[in-house]
Amino acid sequence: MKRSLGLAMLLALSLAPSARAANEADYKAAYAAAEAASKEAAGMRNQWTVTLSALAAAKKAADGGDFDRAVAAAREAEALAKASIFQASSEKEAWKAMEIR
Amino acid sequence: MASSIRVRATSSGDITEVQALIQHPMDTGLVKDSKGELIPAHFIRQLKFECNGKDVFVADWGTAVSKDPYVKFSFKGAKKGDELKISWTDNKGGSDTTIAKIA
């Protein structure tokens, strides 16, 4: 139970809305961070489908010029990617608890 | 090409039990394919079973019949060795027919 609490907190923390309207530079930064985290998750062979859809949503929003939504989506993608990284590393040992012996 | 109709007719006493499985997509016309376009309706409208020159069973089907449709029924008045003729037509003018001996 402790582990999934960690995941939930991580997700909530990163979704805090930013105050002023976002511009393209903010989007580019947020997207780059999200993409890096997503690549790391893929490297651990534990990517989540929702991370990819959030990244796609961010790009789509940015193409449409709506940088507020684009930054929010990119931040969500980053949080999801980080959660999947957290999951992969904690599961390295945690799986043994469920093993039938 | 093997027939699209698989049939098994077994008779015991005066009753012949018939089971048929037909290879057909039975598309409703309401489903989208992976590219998002509607797959046009393509379904069997009528399936007929004849034995000794007489219709023994006629099915009128809509789009709610499952893919690769299956049907089972029984009828009297036939015996081992008689021939059962099965034929279907679909809404695109497609059709198939086959004849099976009652086992």
């Binding site: - | 698989r6 709610a64 499952s66 029924f73 009297k76 004849i99």
Partner: protein, 167 residues
């Protein structure tokens, strides 16, 4: 004559032989079709109930198909699963002890068009049918039997939902 269900994992030699026999005979039969086109006469009176299949609601479909209303009867035994294994393939069968049956039809109330299938039962054919139908969502399923000019019905609810945990 109900077949006792054989334990699944043992191979079914008899079923394979019968099937293979039927299949090979089927191919054989194709060759010597006595007449090319089905006789027009036979096709004439097999009018496909176009209008009935187009109706959306069950009541309209019954009216279009039979032109009268049905009354529930316990002589019509409708067998359908309580929860459908899958909405695309729902095994349904009906049997009846009524006499002089001329037609059996299935109506799926919640489907885009209610009439699913209609069977003509010439005399000499046992009034019973088993088939597999599609159901869009949890729905009332009605089987109607036309016996001696009157309509008798049986209704059952079938729960239908998707499977899996998310995706």
């Amino acid at each position: 004559m109900t077949t006792t269900p054989k334990p699944h994992w043992r191979p079914h030699p008899t079923r394979r032989l019968i099937l293979r026999g039927a299949a090979s005979v089927a191919l054989l039969g194709l060759g010597n079709l006595p007449f090319a086109a089905a006789p027009a006469r036979a096709a004439a009176n097999d009018k496909y109930p176009e209008e009935a299949f187009r109706q959306k609601s069950e009541a309209d479909a019954i009216k279009a198909l039979y032109g009268k209303t049905a009354e529930p009867s316990d002589k019509v035994k409708l067998d359908a699963p309580e929860i459908a294994e899958n909405g695309g393939v729902v095994p349904i069968s009906v049997t009846t002890t009524l006499e002089k049956v001329s037609s059996i039809s299935f109506f799926v109330a919640e489907n885009p068009s209610a009439l699913a299938a209609s069977y003509r039962i010439p005399d000499g054919t046992i009034p019973a049918v088993a088939n597999r139908l599609k159901m869009a969502r949890t729905t009332k399923l009605t089987a109607i039997v036309e016996a001696d000019g009157k309509l008798y019905s049986a209704t059952k609810e079938v729960k239908v939902t998707v499977g899996g945990c998310g995706g």
